[in-house]
Chain length 343, copies 2
């Protein structure tokens, strides 16, 4: 239960004091759809903003079966040995369908979840990707205020989730399965463009050679892309099980970070992320008020159908939708949220 | 001059009768920002919609210097020899800055522009990409109604223009320059994901070998991407000057089309394009009414700054913007348009 009588001041203080229960409570507040909780959550965030932004934010994506949880646990344990405090968050829009969450079961990371220097939070369940994204972004800020200096944001890569995760982290890591020739796992469209580092996992035992061949193929592909910044994306191999390559991998994450800092790109990147985030919230709120208005659903279906069948131009259909929307313009905007979940 | 007294019926009839002057006039109407012209243009389009959709829609992108105009002219002349009627359109958001247009100078395609079976229309100048895109999409429909069975949509690939062009055509062709090893021209991020066919131009004379090496490199990169549909993107070489490879290239465009038709993907792809287009028009109209409202500009700048400096959360800033927008909610939406240009 969120005891709403707790003031934003007390909550912020508890988070800064690294109280796990208070951190969890603050995150639950951001997930709540109750207006009072939303207001409180934003007050807490505003108090904590000056204390955020210090962490290394690393996105990790990979298809089911690539060994993501083993990788994150193995990497997380090593980072904690080095003195880091590691938070693991997730963006999993699919959990709205399954009702579960890719990180719901902490036994997936049994050892990591037992450590005080680790904080594992499942993806918010349900709701639009926009709502899930907002909660994860805000959870990241809360974890940073609570002194976690490494944030690992996991995604299964459903729909646009890779893009939104890449747009909330400093470094985007893509895990791939070993494979050679025809068995080479194709890279999902869009991911190659986002990856700062591609790590071919399971570079051990009988799949070691395939992993090396896959790495070479991915490296060739990366090499002909114009890098978005000064960093040249690279591909390497690792084994989450044996731990081979994890040190090198983290060294590359740190090299990537140093380069972003030295070039001034880190500051610029984060500022751009924040401004894009603001506008995406505006977009989501405004458009959700049109797309989700129940009385507009029949017209939306008709319009899409008429456009599909070329009975109307897109502009005519768009104008009709907006006209109807303005007619029903009582509460034009609402914040994109996950479905209610009692805090 | 648009003689507005011309009825939509007369204009539609003129377009169907393949009158070039009427086609040009109808396109100019869609470019006009006058409300009366807009209404008339939409009436014309609605009359013609049943007669559209028959053409092969091919997007062609490539950096300046890749030889795009020579390529289009050379390909266009060949297609006309085969009995096709070819319209060349363009999406060039940069023309709003230069005031010119990548196709403004028809001498770029001197021979093609002289033929009655060819119709070359410059990119609409000025305005948002959304306005430019709408005009080009609607021009494409008008050209189809006027019996042009091949539509070539050119883009220089500024900003998001590749994406919007790819989303209005059946087949997306990317022209690349020859190069090997370090001189290999990097593929702009995102483009590799869109390309159905990559053609390395200037596969002639001293650059033939480099062109072949580049082709091989691009082919390798394409081969490890998961294709979005049943078509496996491929890379080939050609020479717009000598004409070498143009027949093969067009054969691949036709093979791509046959495959989309046989798999049912062509119908699905076009329907999805239309629905996405409708929603993008809604998005543009609604959000333009917020982003472009002059009285909101100071608040927009403040909000972006506050978010950048982490003085506000994105949600707080978004809420503030939307609140102010609702306060100034006189004419919430307007169609995204190129800057006025006297029809």
């Amino acid at each position: 239960m969120v005891r709403s009588r707790l003031s934003s001041e007390a909550l912020a203080a508890g988070v800064l004091a690294r109280e796990r229960a208070t951190l969890a409570r603050a995150i639950t507040l951001t997930e709540s759809t109750l207006a009072s909780h939303q207001v409180l959550a934003q007050e807490v965030l505003q108090r904590l903003l000056p204390r955020t932004g210090k962490a290394m934010r690393v996105g990790i994506s990979g298809v089911p079966g690539v060994g993501k949880s083993t990788f994150i646990e193995s990497l997380g344990l090593r980072l904690i040995e080095r003195g880091h405090r590691v938070a693991v968050l997730a963006v999993d829009p699919s959990s709205q369908r399954t009702g579960g969450s890719i990180l719901g079961d902490k036994t997936r990371m049994a050892r990591l979840s037992l450590l005080g220097e680790a904080f594992i939070r499942p993806s918010p369940t349900g709701g639009h990707l926009g709502g899930v994204t907002r909660v994860t972004r805000e959870s990241m800020l809360l974890c940073e205020a609570a002194g976690f200096d490494v944030i690992l944001v996991e995604t299964v890569g459903v729909g646009q989730s890779e893009t939104v995760v890449a747009d909330m982290v400093d470094c985007y890591l893509v895990l791939m399965l070993p494979g050679a020739g025809d068995e080479l796992q194709g890279i999902k469209k869009g991911v190659l463009e986002l990856a700062d580092i591609i790590a071919v996992n399971k570079a051990d035992g009988s799949t070691l050679d395939d992993a090396r061949q896959a790495r070479a193929a991915y490296q060739r592909a990366l090499s002909i892309l114009q890098p978005a910044g000064s960093w040249k994306p690279l591909a390497l191999t690792c084994s989450a099980v044996s731990g081979d390559g994890l040190e090198d991998l983290w060294e590359q994450v740190r090299a990537h970070r140093r380069q972003l800092i030295d070039s001034g790109e880190l500051v610029a990147r984060r500022e751009q992320q924040l401004v894009r985030w603001m506008w995406s919230m505006v977009d989501q709120m405004v458009l959700a008020s049109l797309r989700d208005r129940s009385e507009l659903q029949p017209l939306i279906m008709e319009s899409e159908q008429a456009v599909r069948q070329q009975k109307m131009t897109a502009l005519q259909a768009a104008n009709a939708l907006i006209k109807a929307w303005r007619g029903s313009h009582t509460h034009p905007v609402s914040s994109p949220e996950p479905t209610p979940r009692a805090p």
